[in-house]
Symmetry: D2
Subunit: 266 residues, 4 copies
C-alpha cells in the first residue's frame, strides 16, 4: 500500500513518519522537497486545513502553489484524507475529513490546553499561581483548561450559560458563574473557548486596562477582537495550537485515526 | 412561611439548620425528638430516600414508624419535597423529587468521590500513590474519581464502552481502555460507577485474589456481588456516600435546590 | 540465611511476605500462630514499636507475653532489627533501629498523609473541596499534606514559624501564615504535624465550637488534647497511621531498608 | 522618604510601581526616560543583576552607560539595594544584596518553574501529557518543577545524589533515580536545576538525538552546553526566568523584601 502526503507543514512531516513507522510506504510532496506527487499512490493525505482559500492546497513549504481540484481529480475513486475539506461530490470522490472525527477533536484538547498555558505564562507579567483567570465556556476545552490552571495554582473562574455546567466545574475546584454574573473587573487573564459571542462591548469595558484575552475558539469567537483592541485590551488569536505547540502529538492523533479508517475501508 | 421536616438522619438536621439560616421557620419531627409534625406547616420536606419499603417513612431517628401515606395526605395540595419519592397522583399532590434534579445529582459527585477515596485508603493495605486503580465508567463520577486518584498519585485506568469517552479520560492523565481490553489481573482496587453489568463472572475470575471492589453505582451495579464474594474477592457496597461522608455539604446541595424551587413555585 | 520475625501485627505479616519474596527463609512467632521462635535464626526482626512498656515485646497477636530482654539475649551477637528500640549495650548486641533511618521516615510520609486525608473525609460533615483547612507545620509531612489537600480542592492555610518556610508553602498553592497571625476562627479542620506546642489554650478558644483537631505528631504534640476537649473541640490522636492505613506499603518501606542494611552488614 | 531606582528593565518599572503604591515617593532613571538620577534621594535601588561587567550598571533601557562606582559613591552612607552586587567596602557603603535573601530566592521558584513549563511546551513537538521528562536535581526548584510537570500529566523522573532526596520526590508522584542509574535514552526533555556538572559527555551521548536540554541553574550548570550541541542536542540556556516570564511578580517579591528591610534599618 502506497501513501502520498501532499502539502502542509511540520505536522505533516511527523504524520509521514508516523505512518511509515507503521509499515507503510510513504512519500511526501509540496512539503519541503521538490518531489512531485506520486499519482499512482493508493491513498492521499492532505493537511489540516486542506485549503485556506478553497482553491489552492495549504502548502506553505511548497515551492509552487498546488491546485486542490487537480489533487482531488488525480485521486478520484481512491481514499483521500484531509482536514476541514470543502464538500465534494461524494459519489466519485472517497473523501474523509479527519478533523470532523470525534477522536481527533478530543485528542486535540490537551495540545490546545497546553499551548494556551504557555501563551498565558509568556504573555502576562505575573505568575499563574495565585492570580485570577477567567475561562469562558465549560465544554471540553474549557473544563480541562480550568482543571490545569487550578493545578498550577491559579484562582480560576469558569463562566457558562447553564447551572448544570457550573456545578460540574465547581467539582474541579474552580469557581463558576453565569455570564451575566461575572466580576469582570478582577480578571487580567481571560481565555475564550466558545465559538459564539459571550462578551459584548459593554462587558469588555469592565475588564482591567491591561487584560489579556486569548481566543481559543473558532469564528466568530467569544468577543469582537477589533472592539477589544480599540478599548486598549490585548488580544491573542490562538487558532490551531496543536499544530503549533505539539505537531508530533497532533500528527499521532490524526495518524491513529487515519490508520483505523484505512482498516475499516478495506 | 413554616417548613416541616419529617424523618431522615443527620443530613436532615443539617438541612433544617440550612433552611433556618435562610430565614424560614423550621420544625423537625421523627428526627431525634418526640415532637409531632406540625401539619399546619406550608411546606414539608422528607428525607432521601423518602421511604425504603414504600410504606413507612425512612426515619431511623424516630421513636415509632411513620406511614408515608399519612404524611402525603396531610400535605395534600401543599408543596412536598422528598428524595426518590414513589410516584404520586400528581393532580392533588404537589410532590417534588429533589434527587431527580440535575444540580443535586452533580452536586453529589464530589462528596461521593471523596467518600470513595476514604473507603479506598482505609480498606486497602497499600497507599494509593503508585498503585494501580481501575475505574469502571467514564461518566461524571468516573471521570472526577479518576482525576482525584491521579492527583493522589495512583496509576489510574478508566474503562468505558466508547473510544470517545476514553479519549476524554486520557486528557485527565489516566490510562483508558475498552472493557474488553482490560489487564484485570493487575488491579487490586476497582471502583464501579456504572449501574449496569460491566464485569461478568469470567472477568471477576481474572482479578487478583485480594482485590477490593467498591460499588458506587445503583442497582444492578457493575458486577454481581454474590459471585464476586464467592470467588473470594472483597466487595464494598457504597451507596449514599454523600449522606455518610458529608451530610452537611449534602444538605446544602439539597437545601439550595429546595429554596430555589420554593421561589419558582410561589 | 534464616530470618525470624517475633511479635507485631498485620504489618509484620506483610514484612514476612516481603522478605520471603526476596528469597530468604522466614519464620514468624508471636504473630497469630503458636510457633515458638527459632533461636537459631541468623537475624531477628521485631515490630514498630518493638515494645510499648519497655519490658514486654509489642505482640498483640501473641497468645502470651514475650519478654523483650529474653529475645535480645537469644540474639546476642546477631543482627537484630526493631523500631524505636530502647538503647542496648552496643558492644554485645548488634541492634538496628529501623525507625531512625531517614528512608523509613520519609517513606512513611505518604501513608501518613493518605491516612490523614481519610480521617478528615470521614470525620467532618463537609467535603474537603472548598473548605478551609489548617495545617500546623511546614515540614515534610505538613507540606505534602498541604499539597494533597490543595489537589482535593481544600482552601489550605499552612502555619509555620519562619518566613522562609511560608514562602515554600505558598509555591504549593497554599496560603501561609506565621503562628501568631492565624485567623483561627475560620478553621473547622486542623491538622497538627509539629511535635511541640504551637496552639496554646488561648488559641484553642478561638477555634469554632465544632472544629476537629487531628494530631499527627508525636508527643507532646501541637496542643494539649485535654484542654481542647474540655473546650468542646473534637480531637483525634492519630499516631502510627502507616501501620493502620497502609500496612503493606509500610512493611515494604521497612523491608527495603532491612534488606539493604543486611547487605551492608555482611 | 524619597526612593530612586536606576537602571534595569521592565521588572524595575514594576518595582517602581510597587513601591510607589506603598506610599513612597519614587523616581526612576536610566529606565526608559532621560531623567537624571535624584542624588538627594534617601534610598537607591539597582537592578538584578546590578551590573553584568563589574563596571557599568545593567541598564538596557538607558540612553547612555552609567558607571556603577559613581552611583555607589553618590549613595555612600545611604541605603542601597541591588541584586548580585559586587562586594563593597562595608564600612562606608550600606549595601544590601536582595538576591541573597532567602525570601527572594524562594519567591523566585514559582516564576522560574512556570517559565520552564512554557519553554518546554513551546520547544518540544509533543505534549507534556504522557511524555517522559527528566528533572536533574531534587532541591526546591527541582521538586516543585517535578510536582507541576506531574500535575500536567508528564511521566517525570527526578535524579539526585542521595536516597533521602529521592524518597521525598517519590512522595510527589515522580519516579526518582540516582544519577548513575538513569535510563537516559528515554528522555527527550531534560531540565537541569543543579549548578554543578551532573551529566558528563558520556551521559549526554546516551540521550536521544532530538533531546532538548533546558538549563535552569547558574554556572557551571549541569552539563557542558558546547559538548551537548556538538552532539546535536538542543540546548536552551534559561537564566533569569522570573524577570522574563513574570516581571511583575518578580518585582513584588523584591519589593516586599526591600520594604521590610527598610523598616528594619530605620
Amino acid at each position: 500500500m502506497k501513501i502520498q502526503l501532499i502539502g502542509g507543514d511540520r505536522r505533516q512531516l511527523y504524520l509521514a513518519d508516523y505512518i511509515r513507522a507503521h509499515g507503510f510506504q510513504v512519500s511526501t510532496s509540496a512539503l519541503g522537497t521538490a518531489a512531485p506527487p506520486d499519482w499512482e499512490a493508493d491513498i492521499c493525505i492532505l493537511p489540516l486545513p486542506a485549503t485556506r482559500d478553497g482553491v489552492f492546497l495549504n502548502a506553505p513549504m511548497a515551492a509552487e502553489p498546488v491546485a486542490l481540484q487537480s489533487v482531488l481529480d488525480h485521486f478520484k475513486g481512491k481514499l483521500l484524507f484531509g482536514g476541514m475539506l470543502p464538500p465534494a461530490p461524494q459519489a466519485s470522490y472517497r473523501v474523509i475529513d479527519y478533523f470532523a472525527a470525534e477522536e481527533v477533536t478530543i485528542g486535540n484538547i490537551v495540545p490546545t490546553v497546553e499551548g494556551a498555558l504557555a501563551l498565558a505564562i509568556e504573555n502576562t507579567p505575573f505568575t499563574l499561581l495565585n492570580h485570577p483567570a477567567l475561562v469562558l465556556g465549560a465544554g471540553r476545552i474549557g473544563s480541562l483548561l480550568a482543571s490545569r490552571l487550578t493545578a498550577l495554582g491559579a484562582a480560576v473562574t469558569v463562566a457558562a450559560r447553564r447551572e448544570a455546567s457550573l456545578a460540574a466545574c465547581r467539582a474541579l475546584g474552580a469557581k463558576a458563574r453565569l455570564y451575566e454574573d461575572l466580576p469582570l473587573q478582577r480578571f487580567r487573564l481571560i481565555f475564550n473557548t466558545v465559538p459564539a459571542r459571550v462578551l459584548e462591548e459593554e462587558q469588555l469595558r469592565r475588564l482591567p486596562q491591561d487584560a489579556l484575552l486569548i481566543e481559543l475558539a473558532s469564528r466568530p469567537g467569544g468577543f469582537d477582537p477589533q472592539k477589544a483592541e480599540a478599548l486598549g485590551l490585548r488580544v491573542m488569536q490562538a487558532p490551531g495550537l496543536p499544530g503549533k505547540f505539539a505537531p508530533e502529538t497532533a500528527a499521532e492523533i490524526i495518524g491513529e485515526y487515519i490508520l483505523k479508517e484505512m482498516e475499516h475501508c478495506e
